[in-house]
Amino acid sequence: MPTIKHARHGLAASALLGLGLAFSAPSQALPISECIAPADPGGGWDFTCRSVGKLLLELDLVDSPVQVTNMPGGVGAVAFSNVASKRPADSDLVVATSTVGMTQIAQGQYPGGADTMRWLAMLGTDVGVILVDDESRFESLDQLLETMVEEPDSLAMAGSSGAGGWDHIRALMLAKAAGMPADQIGSVRWVQFDGGGPAVTQMMGGHVDVVSTDLGEIAGFIESGDVRVLAVLSEEPLPEPFADLPTAVSQGYDVTGYNWRGFYTGGEVSDEDYTAMVDTLQTLYESDEWKDVAQQNGLVPLWRGGEEFNDFVRQSIDEVETVSREIGVIQ
């Protein structure tokens, strides 16, 4: 059961046991007692917090349920500034984040850079895909990119991020790899929808031509054959049932575009606590339960933790910043 919303107390327990049961973990004794999801309930970050929080309890890595706090605002900026200003040293707090949050940092949309926080680990990743309708004139990535380079204004691309967001950047990186000159990039039309599902539906209705989004969100449409996958943006082919989908790399375009899910914590958390939190998350990652949860939600389990993850985040931010500058998202 992946997205079980786990709150601190259920009605059943409270109704039976009454007021005396109320407790929350003492703030310093345990590694993780609260997870901030910087979004409304129901989204990807909320899912990350709730599924990981639930597994931490089930695997006895924490004694009491992990409290999930929703703190929406500014694509994570509100939670980021809240932790930076009010709770930089809370060693029991983790905040869900992903490539989307990292892109925001790279484009200067957060009040602070990567150094403001300590980056704990990533637990899994979603993979970018480039799709067309099953009746589209484009049979291969080569065809699509050729048209894109030659007649950039003949295509309307869509995805779930805004112009210059991660879905858009991934698609433009492909266009660049296909030899599109930088001054032409502005003429490819980009249409933003509220998610991968709506974008694909609009494509099925013939309103847009190409969709760039995450695999996990739209896996059902691939399985049903309503869409044609031109490229998967991973280094290696994906595990079953998506093993047949061609990667961009295998078609000669060296572009990858993951959307990982992970956590950060406040920048003033001690090394000792930081290590303990990373260890806890690693134990969780290595469990079979996490593998199941990840797979059910279209994520590929993938571990990077501690200093390795810290370096990875910084490096990715640099890369996204460079790409954003090259294609003109930021000046």
Partner: protein
């Protein structure tokens, strides 16, 4: 607006509507002006400022029409009522300020008791109903609905 007995409370809105019209016209003009500061952004034929401008035009025109042709208002509150309302707003504003630093129970207890007083109840029922409401709400949200409320500082129970 046409509930029985309400029509007696209607007054011509010459002053009220005109003030509202001016405020709204200024708001529309401000929104129009400010929308030009939104960077047109990356690769869009229609930028983030277009829709606010599209809305502020009819808003401004309707506001001007309201200044020219004011309608009716409800009777405005008298001084005693106004004082009670301002008092309630200050109290609730204070509640919002102190909710986190004090914790839910003490902040709510004080607020509810004063609020019940403001609504015209004598002290005794105020104290009683204030306590019942506070504890009841705390139990409902914290235990039954599982939504954590801020605790008193230093009290982790």
């Amino acid at each position: 607006m046409h509930e029985p007995g309400m029509d007696a409370g209607r007054i011509p809105g010459v002053i009220g509507d005109r003030i509202a019209g001016v405020v709204l016209a200024v708001l529309a003009a401000g929104a129009w002006w400010h929308s030009h500061s939104f960077a047109t952004g990356f690769m869009q034929p229609v930028g983030p400022g277009a829709f606010p401008r599209l809305v502020s035009v009819p808003l401004g025109l309707l506001a001007l029409y309201l200044i020219l042709r004011p309608g009716f208002n409800q009777r405005w509150p008298h001084r005693a009522a106004l004082l009670r309302q301002v008092g309630a707003l200050l109290l609730l504003g204070g509640y919002a300020v102190f909710l986190e630093p004090w914790g839910f129970l003490p902040a709510s207890l004080v607020t509810v008791i004063v609020l019940v007083r403001l609504f015209g109840a004598p002290w005794k029922p105020s104290l009683a109903s204030g306590t019942i409401l506070t504890v009841g709400l705390y139990a409902l949200f914290e235990f039954a609905l599982g939504m954590p409320l801020p605790n008193m500082p230093g009290l982790s129970w």
